[in-house]
């Protein structure tokens, strides 16, 4: 059945042949309805087994702390059955949207089949692996057959940039900060849509977590599956090396006004009290936990402070004995899932503060909460105060 679906789709999309893949990452394990469970259990009954290393994205449950998610019993049972079925198919129960920070890192030029928009964009852009934006059903079909249609971002010519973003007018202080990257990503997604962009003028020591935040935001606000950063990402040693040969590139000079307007549009609330803070979309890394530990030392939070992460990162954190000091301050660590795909936030609404562009994008529709976007430092200061505190100096 999996091969039939792949061949049908390849014909439909005009791919001439299939390519072997070396790994897969599956987004289909998040419960949207009973039909998805029937599909996965059908594959299990037919003795389906993945034939390439395959990791799993988040589910709709925190399996380590079942009480964190407040779903009805039917949803919980079906979400559990769905997650179990994918494990029976041979996928690794990583339950994270940052598999690339849980040891799953395909190399430059490797063909893979990844699902989940931020994971796709990271694999393509930061690792230089090759995948289209695969999703529910198709991702597992690729993993079971070890094949994907050879088209789209698997092909050289479609990986070249048709948009050039010049960031030379943005202050270097802003470009050094964490808070800039989700905003840049949101702007990029809205501007580039599904086109490939190359961004010029970013600092050479930019961290992996900043690129992760940029890509996650870009693939929430638009259909971005690949971006390049000149001098940083592996396929773009220079702007010229990655520009499209055929299309006349669109050149955009990014201004401080444009980026400020995008920042403002990420928030639906701008002042007053907050009810919760949530960070970790994509899932928090060890580096981000270290930063949170540094910023929140000796502080006590007035509102719940949720950090979403993968169980792999949590295990490393426990080894490093970093968990207790955070939980004492009021941090709640959520694993295997996150606050915008499962009912975790208290009550039916309120104001949520976040440092994640992706949470800022999806929270209003998915949780009923108003949202405020700020840096991690702003989130800590606001959680201590119980109301919105934002450092505006970088933006002026």
């Amino acid at each position: 059945m999996a091969m039939r679906i792949i061949v049908d789709m390849a014909n439909m999309m005009g791919a001439e042949r299939l390519t072997p893949i070396t790994s897969a990452h599956i987004d289909g394990c998040l419960y949207h309805g009973d039909s998805g469970v029937e599909f996965a259990e059908h594959l299990v009954r037919r003795d389906g087994k993945v034939c390439v290393p395959t990791t799993l994205n988040v589910g709709a449950l925190d399996l380590l702390n079942p009480n964190r998610v407040h779903s009805d019993s039917h949803t919980s049972e079906m979400a559990h059955r769905l997650m179990s079925a994918y494990v029976k198919l041979g996928c690794k129960p990583t339950w994270t949207c940052a598999p690339y920070q849980a040891g799953h890192r395909p190399g430059l030029g490797e063909h893979v089949a990844w699902g989940e928009s931020n994971a796709v964009t990271f694999a393509n852009s930061v690792l230089g692996a090759r995948t289209n934006r695969y999703g529910d059903f198709f991702d597992i079909c690729c993993a079971l057959t070890g094949r994907a249609p050879l088209m789209g971002l698997h092909l050289d010519e479609n990986r070249r940039a048709t948009v050039l973003v010049d960031t030379s007018s943005i202050s270097s202080a802003l470009k050094q900060s964490d808070v800039f990257y989700p905003v840049l990503g949101t702007w990029l997604g809205e501007t580039a849509g599904s086109e490939v962009a190359v961004i010029d003028g970013l600092p050479s020591e930019i961290s992996e977590d900043k690129l992760k935040a940029l890509g996650a935001a870009a693939s929430s606000s638009g259909a971005v599956g690949l971006f390049h950063v000149a001098g940083i990402t592996p396929e773009a040693p220079t702007v010229e090396s990655v520009m499209s040969h055929s299309d006349q590139p669109r050149i955009i000079h990014l201004s401080a006004d444009m980026i400020r307007a995008t920042r403002d549009q990420l928030s639906t609330a701008h002042a007053g009290r907050i009810d919760a803070v949530a960070v970790g979309s994509p899932h928090f890394s060890m580096g981000e936990f270290a930063e949170l530990e540094r910023l929140s030392q000796g502080q006590e939070f007035k509102v719940p402070f949720y950090v979403c992460t993968g169980r792999g990162v949590l295990a490393s954190l426990e080894t490093a004995e970093g968990v207790e000091s955070l939980t004492q301050r009021g941090v709640e660590i959520i694993v295997d899932t996150c606050v915008v795909v499962a009912p975790i936030l208290p009550g039916t609404g309120g104001v949520l503060m976040t440092s994640s562009g992706k949470f800022a994008h999806y929270a209003p529709a998915n949780t009923g909460y108003e949202v405020v976007y700020g840096s991690l430092e702003d989130c800590v200061a606001s959680a201590v105060a119980g109301s919105i505190v934002r450092d505006e100096t970088l933006w002026n």
């Binding site: 999309m13 949207h32 309805g33 039909s35 998805g36 059903f137």
Partner: protein, 136 residues
């Protein structure tokens, strides 16, 4: 008058024509329990897509839209046929999976921008397995 499109999933069906007025993400945009457009910002908000010959100028957003399409077919709330104006596999994938699981299938036809313009705003249409679109 007859128009033709490229058959993505073959089938025969008739229904009321419904044209979506802006790009849609079925995930977060169509309620799988009712078949009604549920995104309050969408111009077709409140319209039922069930049993229609649905004209989709463009899809947007999440690849989980395939899952919503599958769920609609399982609960018999799906459109009678899909006419897609963009090269987009996400909704067709939901139909292919439904066919594999025995939930039934619907015709999916890709139409050019020119055919899209020629399609009327209402009335009934019949889609056939050769890709012809007939309407009164």
């Amino acid at each position: 008058m007859d128009l033709f499109g490229r058959v993505l999933v073959p089938g025969d069906a008739s229904g009321t024509l419904l044209r979506l007025r802006s790009p849609i993400s079925f995930w977060g945009g169509v309620d799988p329990r009712t078949g009604i457009v549920s995104d309050p910002r969408h111009p077709n908000y409140g319209d039922s897509i069930t049993d229609t010959v649905l004209i989709v100028p463009a899809t947007a957003g999440s690849s989980s839209s395939s899952a919503i399409m599958l769920e609609l077919l399982r609960s018999k709330l799906a459109p009678a046929a899909l006419l897609l104006a963009r090269h987009d596999g996400i909704l067709a994938l939901g139909v292919l999976v439904a066919r594999e699981l025995g939930y039934g299938t619907i015709p999916v036809v890709e139409v050019t921008p020119k055919v899209l313009q020629l399609l009327p705003e209402g009335g009934t249409a019949t889609v056939t397995r050769t890709g012809s679109i007939e309407f009164q």
